[in-house]
């Protein structure tokens, strides 16, 4: 079960297709920093349980959300993304983007050192980016984040230029993520292959130092003395308050919740939705949660295969499902319903799409009749020319959560009301890879996490088919959408990008390429004594600001 959780994608989008990964990145409305009592003080330690050890301890190799969760406080980034989607300096004091969008020039701080004493400088940046694109590293996520990366040019001790082969406006957002942060050049030189095994080999510039790892059990991180290069908007700029934090890997949900309620843990990650009601009654436990940033759990309608090559049938399908009612019924208010292909907390979300589509049974019926599905077969499904109106929903059996399966069943029931048949097709991993590479499916589903609206390119650009690493499971081939997405890559101001992303959201919903459904949440349970526990960019806890009373 935890392998489903432990995967994410930022722009390696096939996840959208396979429905892997619960989301990350967020800035939701229902989040509040835990604890308000007293003045922060230094000292103490917390034990933090998550579900598993990450797939790899090398952030440049990992595709798991767990590595960024555990290591955000160990690794700093060049720039810092604030919750409103804008950027501020971090390890880079300033930056400049050339007019053609091909060169990003960064002026670096000159007072930063790695945990091993190695200075952080232009050569260190170059060594890391070169490590990511080196085929021997076998990077997937980080490499994709770098986009059309060409090379890094060292123009001074503390000045670098990142050259791109084509404009790529999501680069700053990518550079703010832990997946493009920096290993000590000394480690990259001496033990590059050992970074993936963690522990002492994780050496970076952050407020905590990786001090030990017991594989499969726990990892210990201790305060870095002398840390003073936090981003300006951090509420606590200097050294971390905590002496250390211990990350414990507790795969079993019951064990994690039980250990939290009995006081053996300070923080527990991924509280299951079914345990929330019980925990709300516990005065000593605070719950901190945020909605996924990225996409809601979304169905993609394969536009290249009948009957979904017909717009009327797609709109009928979209109109036949009362997503608000199903989400409410299945999740009892814990999750909300998504109204666009981005969640409302994702930078770039366009609120104006909320009214342009929705449940309308009569419209669904009249559109199906217009499309010629007027007959009814012996089982009550609509038919045309003696063929039943039937579609298949292909999904990866081992990466689909209980919640998602329940939604599949609810969807099947909902469209049956208008005479539409959905056949569920659970597949093993090689078969699903095969099905999505060849286009042999009618419906795909997934909830990819992202940083901002730039995920739309992975989801809808004509060349981003699932067979070649994209997540365009609807197999949209729309010159207008492609045009907007290309323009977004060249557009440097965020507001301008968001206008374009808004247009894309309008079109893909109006054309019914997709059916967005529920927006999941990641909930942390926190002991009362833990203060200042808040979720920053990427829904990652800002551990350097946490203290214990």
């Amino acid at each position: 079960m935890h392998s489903r959780r432990s995967f994410l994608t930022l722009s390696v989008g096939s996840l959208a297709v396979f429905g892997l990964g619960s989301g990350l990145v967020a800035c939701g409305e229902d989040s509040s920093p835990s604890g308000t009592g007293g003045t922060p003080k230094s000292g103490g330690s917390i034990t933090f349980a998550t579900t598993a050890e990450p797939d790899s301890w090398d952030l440049h190799v990992s595709v798991s959300t767990l590595s960024s969760l555990i290591l955000r406080a160990v690794y700093d980034s060049l720039v810092y993304q604030k919750t409103d989607g804008t950027f501020e300096p971090w390890l880079a004091k300033s930056w400049e983007i050339s007019d053609d969008g091909l060169r990003y020039t960064f002026q670096l701080r000159d007072d930063v050192t790695f945990h091993d004493g190695t200075p952080f400088n232009a050569e260190a940046v170059k060594a890391n980016f070169d490590h990511i694109v080196d085929p021997a590293t076998k990077s997937r996520n980080s490499k994709t984040l770098l986009g059309p990366y060409d090379r890094t040019e060292v123009t001074g001790d503390f000045s670098v230029v990142v050259h791109l082969k084509s404009p790529h406006s999501p680069l700053l957002g990518a550079l703010s993520s832990p997946y493009l942060s920096f290993h000590s050049p000394a480690v990259l030189r001496a033990n590059p292959a050992d970074i993936t095994s963690g522990g002492k080999f994780l050496v970076s510039t952050g407020p905590f130092v990786s001090s030990s790892l017991t594989p499969g059990q726990n990892a210990v991180f201790t305060r870095r003395p002398g840390y003073r290069w936090a981003p300006a908007s951090a509420s606590h700029p200097g050294e971390a308050y905590l002496d250390q934090y211990v990350v414990q890997f507790l795969a079993d949900d019951a064990a994690r919740v039980g250990a939290l309620t009995s006081g053996q843990l300070d923080v527990a990650d991924q509280i299951p939705a079914t345990r929330l009601a019980q925990l709300r009654t516990q005065p000593s436990i605070k719950l901190v949660s945020r909605e996924t940033v990225g996409s809601p759990f979304t169905y993609s309608l394969n536009t290249t295969r009948a009957p979904f090559d017909n717009r009327d049938v797609r709109v009928a399908f979209q109109s036949a499902v009362d997503t608000e009612a199903i989400t409410q019924g299945l999740f009892q208010g814990v999750y909300s319903s998504g109204r666009s292909v981005l969640t409302s907390s994702t930078p770039g979300y366009d609120k104006s799409v909320e009214g342009i589509w929705g449940y309308d049974r009569n419209r669904a019926i009249s559109l199906l009749e217009k499309a010629g599905f007027t007959a009814t077969d012996s089982e009550g499904y609509r038919a045309r020319d003696g063929r039943r109106l039937s579609v298949t929903l292909a999904f990866a059996a081992s990466f689909t959560s209980e919640e998602q399966r329940n939604y599949h069943t609810a969807l099947k029931d909902a469209v049956k009301q208008v005479g539409f048949e959905v056949v569920l097709r659970p597949l093993d991993t090689p078969s699903i890879v095969q099905a999505f590479a060849t286009g042999d499916y009618h419906l795909g589903s997934g909830s990819p996490s992202a940083i901002d609206g730039s995920i739309l390119r992975t989801l809808f650009y004509s060349s981003q088919l699932p067979g070649v690493g994209g997540a365009n499971a609807a197999r949209v081939n729309d010159p207008e959408v492609d045009g907007w997405l290309d323009e977004a890559l060249r557009t440097r101001d965020v507001a301008g990008q968001n206008v374009l992303y808004g247009k894309v959201q309008h079109k893909v919903l109006a054309e019914a390429y997709v059916l967005p459904t529920f927006v999941s949440k990641r909930t942390y349970g926190v002991q009362e004594r833990v203060q200042g526990f808040a979720l920053g960019a990427g829904n990652l806890p800002t551990l350097s600001e946490v203290w214990v009373s």
């Binding site: 096939s14 996520n141 059990q217 507790l250 079993d252 053996q264 990466f399 699903i432 690493g469």
Partner: protein
Amino acid sequence: MYASLPRFLLRRLLTGILVLWGAVTVTFFAVSAAGDQVDAILGPQAANLPGLRERVAAEYGLDRPLPVQYLDRLASLATGDFGRSYQRSQPVTRLLGSQILPTLQLALSAALVGLLLALIATVITAGRGRIVRTGTSVFEVLAVAVPPFWLGILLLSLFSFNLRWFPAFGSHGISGLVLPTLALAIPLAGVLAQVMRQELELVEGRPFVLSARARGQSRLGLLLRHTLRHALLPATTMSAWVLGTLVGGAVLVEKVFSRPGLGTVLVNAVQHRDTPVVSAVVILAALIFVVANALADMLYPVIDARLRETSRA
């Protein structure tokens, strides 16, 4: 017996190698039948990235014909090379090395505690009245029927979450070992107690026991010197089954108690389709099985004097 020991060991060694070869072969072909290894290495996200497949296939030697891969696998295993983990990209031997001890610790303590519990139950209840025996039978059946992981959650809830006597996770020395050991030992004790009591009651009805009692031997003395040995025989015969239970149970119990060990590694490897690690664990399990069976066979004559006679003959 001692005269034939070398021959016995040689026979054991040969059958052991045969069993291991079988395990390797079955695992190898099961894995290759399960689908393209490259998909497993890359995962669904990256499996279709252009160019990556060919490179990975070449790197792991998966682009060669299956028989060549198989022979290569046999050759490297013969030299103790279990290959590299797809997921952690480090030698499997290093990955498993640190995990064997915790599992062995758990399995041994569970075997000992299970045997001890079974012995106590046997001695106390054998030959007693109907009510006592019915009561214990119900207990034993319950103990056998309870899945270890469920028992583990039950023990956790009671003794860790509520009473807070023992930690819920981690290897905090002895205190961290108590609950997982019990979770494994109780179902084991249920089975062992049943077979041992049956045997004990059978033996206690034999004439030699009656005559010994008539000579003034106490029941305790008889138990220690004679009858318990008989009761231990079927338990020894079941050692292979016990081992299977322990290995299977450890996988689940390690997960519930978040203990390090082979079980955790195996579950993780299966989830990530890390076949070199899965194969190594299977081979290791087969090896343990072979060794334990050999040990059990060597123990028979030690426990049962009659077997010593026959093997000398």
